[in-house]
Structures are given as structure tokens and as C-alpha cells.
């Protein structure tokens, strides 16, 4: 056994399964645990997807429900609720991307320019905090601040003689609040990758630029920003791959009947149609549609990243 081990790096001989098991049976034994978990709790659910071709009735089960071919898909693409949920998911995820991408970059640039390590450390610690709070906490805090008459912001506005602003009870205001709270939650944590990218930029570049008389903002624009361009592109592509996702917890916690026009997104659709109205086949078909598009987007994003000369994502 020891011999085969030492000779391995020198000569690349194909090991047979028998030898591999003899040498590494303990490793295969360890692997059985995670494999059992994914088979029991992930793969075992895949056959359930066949219900997208059935008119699944919970009382009848898989065996008793009738096969209907593509009827379910025809039905969901005519379903106004689905189309609204799809539109909202796409629009809000793109907006999230547009608002959410530049802010962490700017913040990373500012943090990088900060010349007081203590101040930097404290502000980083504080700015990372929202990333570690649940949507239940963020949602309830936002509610305390933004609710119509007794929320803090509205109290302040009314004290100054203004009128109460329906931050979370009118759909256009809601959209802005929803997006800004999202940015607020991710802005600090989002800087980490960019800060890591900045440290790998050579210090000589900055020295040379200073000798040439480039000021702070010029250096930021011409050295730091181009230096983190690969990071920016990679993260942007990863996030583009997620544009079909929707976060149930975030949507649910910001939900109320006045803003359903915008808040009704795919995750809400799946939950309400599925577990609420027991339209199992429709909810599953929408979930499948979402997953398949998601996988395609991830694969495309990976291809694209490799095309641009970045390290692949997969």
C-alpha cells in the first residue's frame, strides 16, 4: 500500500476500482453520509416533479391523479397571477442589481481611501451588521421606522410640518423602500470582495501615479477602479445568473394588502398557490420553470465569464 502511494506522483497509472477501494475505503465510507443526505432530501424529491404533467389532487396522490400533458404549462402562461409575478420578479431583481451593484463598489473605494485604521475597522464592523440580521428583524425594524402615522420617519416629517408619507402602504413608495432596504442590507458585506481585489493591486502603480502628480480621485478612477474590474465583472455575472430567484422571506415581511401589485412575485405565487390554495401542479410547474431558467442563466454566466478570461464560476 505504501509503495503504491509513493509511486503515484511519478507514474500516472490508472488505478482500478478494486485498488481504489482497498486503499481509500474509509474515504468512500465518509462520503456515504453526505450522499445519503442529498439522495434522501434532495434527489428523492425530483420524481415529484412529474406532477407538472398531471392534474395533481392532494387527496388522490400521484397514483390517482390524471395525466394532462402540457395543460398545466398552457394554464400558467395564461394565468394573470403568474404573469404578474414573473414581471415583478424580473423587474425588481434587475432593479436590485442596478441599485445594488455600484454602492458596495463606491463604499469599498471610500473604505480603501480611509487613512485611519481604527475608524475603518469600526465602520466596517458596523456596516457588516445588517448582513447578519434575519429578514424578520430587518422587516420589523423597517416597519417601526416607515409605518404610516406612528413610524419614526413619519413622526419626524409631521413634526416639521410635512405630511405623512406612505412608505410601505403605497406601491410606488413601497418599491423604493423595498429596494433601499435591500441595498442597505447588502452594501457593507458586499464590499469584502472588492476590498480583497484592491489589496492585490500593486503599490508601485500608485507610487508611479503620485510621481506623475495624480491626485487621490484620479488614482481612484485610473488605478483602483480598473484594478477591481475583474471582480466587478465576475460578481455582476454571478448576480445576473440569479435574476429569476426571489427571496420569500424578504417579500413576505414587506407584504401588505395595499402593495400586492408589486410585492406579488414568484416566491409568493408558489407559496400561496401551492400551500395556500392546494394548486400543487401549478405551483410546482412555476417552481420548475424558475429553476430551469435559473440553471440556464448560471451556465450562460459561467460561459460568459470564461469568455472574458475570468476564472469559471462552476
Amino acid at each position: 500500500m505504501a509503495k503504491s502511494k509513493t509511486s503515484e506522483p511519478a507514474v500516472k497509472v490508472k488505478t482500478t476500482w478494486k485498488n481504489a477501494f482497498k486503499r481509500d475505503w474509509q474515504l468512500y465510507l465518509l462520503l456515504l453520509i453526505p450522499l445519503a443526505l442529498v439522495f434522501l432530501f434532495s434527489y428523492a424529491a425530483y420524481p415529484g416533479l412529474r406532477m407538472v404533467f398531471m392534474n395533481y389532487k392532494p387527496a388522490k396522490g400521484y397514483a390517482g391523479s390524471e395525466w394532462v400533458g402540457l395543460d398545466i404549462f398552457r394554464k400558467i402562461f395564461k394565468d394573470a397571477d403568474f404573469l404578474r409575478a414573473l414581471r415583478n420578479s424580473l423587474v425588481f431583481n434587475f432593479l436590485d442589481l442596478i441599485v445594488g451593484t455600484p454602492i458596495p463598489i463606491l463604499l469599498a473605494l471610500l473604505l480603501n481611501e480611509l487613512r485611519y485604521p481604527k475608524f475603518k475597522k469600526v465602520s466596517q464592523t458596523i456596516l457588516y451588521l445588517p448582513h447578519f440580521l434575519s429578514w424578520a428583524i430587518i422587516g420589523s425594524v423597517a416597519y417601526q421606522l416607515f409605518k404610516p402615522s406612528s413610524g419614526l420617519i413619519n413622526i419626524l416629517i409631521m413634526n416639521m410640518g410635512g405630511e405623512s408619507v406612505p412608505f410601505i402602504t403605497e406601491k410606488w413608495h413601497w418599491a423604493v423602500t423595498y429596494l433601499l432596504v435591500g441595498v442597505w442590507q447588502t452594501m457593507g458585506w458586499g464590499t469584502i470582495m472588492y476590498l480583497a481585489g484592491i489589496t492585490s493591486i500593486s503599490g508601485e502603480l500608485y507610487e508611479a501615479a503620485m510621481i506623475d502628480g495624480a491626485g487621490r480621485w484620479k488614482r481612484m478612477w485610473h488605478i483602483t477602479l480598473p484594478g477591481i474590474k475583474p471582480t466587478i465583472i465576475t460578481l455582476l455575472i454571478i448576480n445576473l445568473g440569479r435574476v429569476m430567484n426571489s427571496n420569500y422571506e424578504r417579500l413576505a415581511v414587506f407584504g401588505n394588502s395595499q402593495v400586492r401589485d408589486f410585492q406579488y412575485q414568484l416566491a409568493i405565487y408558489i407559496y400561496e398557490k401551492g400551500l395556500g390554495n392546494l394548486q400543487f401542479s401549478m405551483a410546482t410547474a412555476v417552481g420548475l420553470f424558475q429553476s430551469v431558467i435559473g440553471v440556464i442563466l448560471v451556465l450562460l454566466a459561467d460561459k460568459f465569464a470564461k469568455m472574458l478570461g475570468e476564472e469559471g464560476l462552476l
Partner: protein, 307 residues
Amino acid sequence: MAKNKAVNTEEVTPDGSRAINKFRVSDALIMIVLALLCLTCVLPFIYLAAKSISSNNAVLAKQVYLIPKDVTFDAYVSLFKDGSMVRAMGYSVLVTAIFTALGMIACTCAAYPLSKKRLKGKKAFTFLLMVPMYFTAGLIPSYLLFKDMKLLDTMWVLIWPLIYSPYNMLIMKTYLQSTIPDSLEESAFLDGASNIQILWRIVLPLSKPIIATLSLFYAVGRWNAYADNQYYIRSDNLKMVQYKLYQMVASATEAQTTTLSEAAAVTSTPEVLQAASIMFVTIPIIIIYPFLQKYFVKGAMVGAVKG
């Protein structure tokens, strides 16, 4: 490789101009912007803290901003008397602890074998273990599966389905591949140690930093997630504390009522009680967070580099 360099982002000032330049307007500008952003993270919680220990009348009269008025801890007293939040908190701690321990076992059992270049069938196993990260069957098929497994409305439905995490496995695998030198394991192998002995005596002791980080990822992930409570749990005593808080906001948003019992509602207004409940759920995180933050940053760096 680059990631080891990147871990110490804090100390580096790439413009290297500390000694030459004096404090300038731009410095002040940057500090002001950052300070304002920090305030948006701090002030809401100071406001809630102040509100939670103010009297009902002061809150109803909208006189409480950042300083409490007529200080009283009545809301917290009724929170503890009612007991449902406190019980849910204890239950959340229990679920999170079991989840984290089992999660780390599952993660190590996957990451260690897959970190070995020589493992035959490595590609196929990695594929099988990564697919669930990108493609899931979705809510309803999972719901029906858990129903068949008699997991619905038990504590275990919050644990088993999520303890194997492809993402955490990737982070650990990357770490093992890049920090544990092959030569170390090879010499142990020559001394007659088995794979499991090598894992236990050499690899795990050298992986303490990543074990700390991933345990935190597991713990925070479980602690903060609550959608699965809504999907799979009916019994009130099996709901985690975050979900209780969510139910409270959800019902307050719609009907301005709380889910706490009437006895609690009589002694203080829902307003103060809500603030106290939010603080009750938030304070534990705020207390432990500053000590743990650096482990998260490290983990995020390792996770950024794919294996």
C-alpha cells in the same frame, strides 16, 4: 493562493501616502459619508431600544426619539411573563446547536474525501453533491416528500434537509486543498496511519480556522432562516423565534395587533411590546457579533475562490 494575501485587507493603505499628506478636505468628506452610513445601521436600533423601555404614554404621545422617556421595563417583564418568545428563543438555540453539529459532520465527510486528488470517482461524486445547489425540486415536491417521511411538524424538518450544504462543502474543500500540504499526509500514510486517523489527528487540528468559520455560517444560516417554519410547521411550540417575530410584524402590519396573549397586551401597548420583542430577538446577535465578525470575513474570502 491570492486569498491568503487578501485576508488582511484592513492594514493596507495602497496609496502609501500616510507620512507625506496632511489631513485634507477629502479625508473629512470620506469620513462624513461613512459615518452617516454607519448611523443608518445604528440609529434604528437605538430608537427601538429607547422605545422598548419608555412608558406607553410617552410612546403614544410620540415623544420618544433616541432617548427613552419615563423609563420602565414593563414591556420586557410582560415578554418574560408571557413566556412564548423566551421559550421560542431556547428552542431556537437547541435547533441551531444540533443543526450546526450535524452540519459540520456532513460537511467534513464530504469535503475531506473530495479534497483528495487521487480519489477515484471524485468527479462523479462532486457532481452528485453539487447539483442540489443549482437545481432543487422546489417547494411542493419537497413538502410532499417530507410528508411521506413523517417529518412535517417536527423539529427535524428544520434540520435534516439543510445540514448538507454544497456551498459550505466547497469552501471547506478549497481550504483543505490549499492549506494542508500533501507531504504531511503522505508521511503519516507511510507511518501506517489510516485515512480516518489522518483526518482526525492531522487534518482537523490544522483546519480549526475553517471549522470555526463554517460552524458560524451554519449557525447563522439556521438562526436567521424561518420560511421553512412557515412551510412545514404547524405547532406553535415548534416554531423558531425569528418566525414568531415575523408573525408578529405580519399581523401588526395588517391588523395592528400582536400575537402575544391578552394578559401581556393589557400591561403595555402593542407598540412598546413590539419594540421590546424586536430588541429581545436582536440583542443576542448584536452582543456576539463583534467577536465573530472576523471569522465570517475569512470564510467569505475562501468561499470567493472556487475549487
